[in-house]
Subunit: 460 residues, 2 copies
């Protein structure tokens, strides 16, 4: 069977697993038809197999791993989501586990074990050679989500005085000790401090007698092992790094990070930001009902508290509402428009802070702009809603009330949408996590208060 | 001056430009002190200079470009945000522009000119050699945001029968024709169809007589030039590609995409998703007030329409509200909780669709899970809010009404939060763009209708 039947490289959804594959696979699992399973799985890349395992049910996973002859290898294991990794590890025999883990580079082993419970972690570490185990345990001694956890310890380095010829001879003499993927040779001084980077492309196109030092890259950056992985990903993206040497506190070379790992981190950081902005913790669609419920609950609880606060504001004006019900009908519009405008602003601000495009140096300009945008949109929608209010309920003063409240609330939304994330960032709180609550609380409270307050003052 | 004074590689904000830099730079610009400007700019990377240009005011940009001796080079130009690119180009003399553009690879020139107005585009294209101009115009003939636009046409290829020695000799003979960065040699058949990839690392560690074909990579994927760049980025991330050959409709090699470009696209796609989820079009903090206002307006208009729809629902129950004002006080709570629960669910669904983790094969399981999560959280918050309602307003039946409405709305939120994005995806609409409106409309309407309807039926 051709891969093209299962993946459609020309279409819009070039790389998605096709529903047809799942239908056939499920039938084969049901019938325990190993030949069909092998045939269906054969063309799939390890990353797709991991996705597939995440998308089927737990009992199907078990059957698949049991009877598929391909077997779970190291690459599949390291691609699998944290949420089902321990389950899958539990299905493997000690021999299968050993074989799978031994294929991996040190950074992939670290990635595999770092969030396992102690027992599963021990089981994996036990499969390693003593030397590899030391390397992995060393990496695990770096803080979570640091460059030290992300790097691989297998590096290709050379003394800074070597020539191209010396380097090529060295590489040819040690083909088995080289990492799977490497793009640079790191030049080190006698104290093992990295002093430069030479790309393999540059090296291949240079004569044997050329000094590596003379063809080193112009841009050269080392990364401290303790640096947060989010900063590492930012550096790769910002400076178009392909690989970068990692150094310990004394500046000595301890590993290398390559762009493919940085890309994964960048993607994860973005994912985290999106989910945090929506008030969801780390989740995958493979999660079960109960953990998902618990993870969604805290944000909903915070939202309940702020909604009650807004209701308290409304309750100040019970008399006005009882006397003039149109106020109750129209009040959610002002709050909703403020909430949306605030969310727009805060999202732009949160992203700009994350990409370091919004800093102390331009904060005032951005705040001023957002307030002006809020004012202009407030005037536009205030006019529209004022007219609608008059047409709907017939009272011209009601139109004025809603128009003024709209302008006020959208202006406040622009202000809160920038000031809140900037203040949270300054206070060391992730603005993606908490800005939404604060901003919508502000727009709800201001929206209800101004609209109902003006309504009570003018209309009654 | 050491770079460390302006960038703090150890801190939390290792790569941000420091406020102190802006203060000193602004003073120097004010005084037109070229020496200080040169000293301040000297340690900055092109990407940081681009960020800096985006963060200062327009008149400051002009002065900086005028008197800074470093000058805007090609790399800085291609890093600059689209919103200020034309302005910056306008400050350059034809000679400066020619020099800057000639440094760039074809993909960077494409990136530079593709969104310029015709006049500026022509000015840049005029600086190119006829050969380069043909390459760039060819790339521009591919659809926007396609692999054809993203690729560079400078490729390193070899006939499939070559040996390592032949390849190295070839590279050494043509050092000036090689791209700045390359990681693979692409093997092609006599009809120029790519048939394999050899990493430079593998090649360097092999003897001269070894056939390239025998050391080619296991995983090999070609990318159609017409493929959407989002799919390209997904493929790089999913399959850990470092570079991939791009082919035309006949399968012939036309270019190569490298992971650093894919990483930028991945980052942009994420950014776009985040902003779309918040109802904001493409924006940067460098945008001016008026374009920003116009770009925020459509989503706010849609939101106004849905808010009015919700108000219409409320107006059905004017009598009930007039008779029992507590309903008006509490009704935003039910709607707000539904809106938040719906946003949580839809964000998870939208992301899972984007990462191809939510497909036809597991849609029902995910919908079932989200409905159950909604039900459980609905029960939890229904109980809490029921008790609060009773304590606050004293009527036991009011507690029942709000509790039941809460359960119903959170359940509906779970349902709408998954079904809406899935249906939009199926209909070919970007779920990130439109899901939010639909889902919050559903939760607002259902929330107000169930709460007020039950209230009217039971309490009056």
């Amino acid at each position: 069977m051709e891969p093209e039947v299962l993946l459609d490289p020309q279409g819009d959804d070039a790389y998605a697993l096709r529903p047809q594959l799942f239908i056939e696979l499920r039938a084969a699992l049901e019938a325990r038809d190993a030949a069909t399973i092998d045939r269906l799985m054969e063309p799939l890349h390890a990353a797709d197999i991991a996705d597939l395992l995440e998308q089927i049910e737990s009992h199907e996973r078990r059957t698949l791993i049991e009877i598929w002859h391909g077997g779970i290898d190291g690459e599949i294991l390291s691609e699998i989501a944290d949420t089902i990794r321990e389950e899958v590890l539990g299905y493997l025999s000690p021999e299968q586990l050993t074989q799978a883990v031994r294929e991996l580079e040190s950074d992939d082993v670290v990635d595999l074990v770092e969030y396992l419970d102690e027992e599963s972690q021990e089981a994996v570490l036990d499969t390693l050679s003593p030397l590899d185990r030391v390397a992995v345990e060393k990496a695990l001694s770096w803080p979570e989500e640091s460059a030290g956890r992300l790097m691989q310890v297998e590096v290709v380095r050379a003394p800074q005085h070597w020539t191209v010829g010396e380097m090529i001879d060295f590489l040819r003499a040690h083909p088995d000790e080289l990492p799977d993927q490497f793009y640079h040779v790191i030049l080190v001084d006698p104290r093992m401090k990295p002093v430069g980077n030479v790309t393999l492309g540059r090296m291949m196109s240079s004569r044997r007698y050329v000094k590596l030092w003379d063809i080193r890259e112009e841009t050269f950056r080392t990364i401290p092992a303790s640096q947060d992985e989010g900063e590492v990903a930012y550096a790769f993206n910002q400076y178009h790094l392909i690989s970068a040497p990692v150094v310990d506190d004394d500046g000595r070379l301890v590993g290398v990070i390559t762009i493919d790992d940085a890309m994964i981190v960048l993607s994860e950081e973005h994912e985290e930001d999106i989910l945090r902005l929506a008030g969801v913790g780390e989740t995958t669609v493979a999660d079960k009902v109960w953990p998902t419920t618990k993870r969604r609950l805290p944000w909903l609880a915070v939202n309940l508290a702020t909604a009650i606060l807004a209701s308290l504001v409304i309750s100040l004006f019970e008399e006005a509402i009882a006397g003039y019900v149109a106020l109750a009908v129209l009040m959610p519009i002002v709050a909703s428009m403020g909430g949306n405008a605030g969310t727009q602003t805060l999202t732009v601000a949160v992203r700009a802070i994350a990409t370091k495009d919004l800093t102390g140096s331009n904060a005032w300009r951005v705040i001023r702009r957002e307030v002006l945008v809020g004012l202009l949109n407030g005037i536009a929608f205030g006019l529209v809603m004022g007219v609608i209010g008059v047409l709907w309920f017939g009272g011209p003063m009601l139109g004025v009330v809603i128009a003024v409240a709209m302008v006020a609330n959208l202006l406040v939304a622009g202000l809160a949408g920038t000031v809140v994330p900037l203040a949270l960032e300054k206070a060391g709180v992730d603005p993606a996590l908490a800005s939404g609550t604060f901003v919508t609380t502000v727009t709800d409270v201001v929206g209800f208060f101004v609209f109902l307050g003006l309504g009570a003052a003018i209309l009654l």
